[in-house]
Symmetry: C3
Subunit: 102 residues, 3 copies
């Protein structure tokens, strides 16, 4: 038995927990019907001189899909969410099995 993998795109979105339901409904309309979500904390400082760190409750949403769908989702996120929510989103390629599932 040999291992035959195919490439898909992993889209990761790290954002405020409050955005989850809204974002997921939008993604569903674009064709993203399954994802993994986990809890995270976002932290940032105002630079070395200001030792104050803010910590906020975040979620990480991960979606494996085709490159075109990942781009459509990211474009939508950029247009709809980036101005109003704390959000980081990034893409990279992964190798998967069972390509018909993604």
């Amino acid at each position: 038995m040999t291992l035959i993998t195919e490439m898909r795109t992993l889209l990761t979105v790290i954002t405020e927990a409050a955005v989850e339901e809204l974002l997921v409904r939008d993604l569903d309309k674009l064709g993203v019907h399954a994802y993994t979500v986990s809890d995270a904390r976002g932290r940032g400082s105002r630079g070395v001189r200001d030792a104050t760190w803010k910590e906020v409750g975040n979620i990480r949403i991960e979606i494996i899909c085709s490159r075109p769908l990942a781009e459509a989702a990211l474009l939508h996120i950029q247009t709809r969410y980036f101005d109003n929510y704390a959000m980081v989103a990034y893409l990279h390629d992964v190798e998967i099995l069972r390509p018909e599932k993604f």
Copy 2:
């Protein structure tokens, strides 16, 4: 001092929490003796018309190892688990230090 990295493969498995012990025992036999596990939630919809979302308790298992070992592990997972458990597995390359550890 310069930074000399080497490539290894990161294998990520997202699956039902109940599978952890079984899977880890199998991976250990294949030669995977260390891994990181974290909690996640898997969600999926039945499409836009049916607004019902299922949410299930998942775990994410991450293993950094050589490409051949990652492929052997993935092949085993495919053969042994894919038919009976909700499971997503994917590979991608990462750069690491201290290659003797992986």
Copy 3:
């Protein structure tokens, strides 16, 4: 509207929860002012014959930044932490939007 992405480097550090504050202060001095942290468990066995598994409370710290900054951070981590703490660190490229933020 088109999607124009740029490459950045994702640095992931998995280590003991107790190191977080120390590490973050060091990273801040190097120029890393924002990151995501999540909880994880590290597990390892002593090999197939010894069925005893150790499980430890870990954190995963993720930083998206330029390649030079990721290398500087990884080099610092290697020099300062690898001998004294249980720590795994790895790099890989990701595509991001809003490059001015990273």
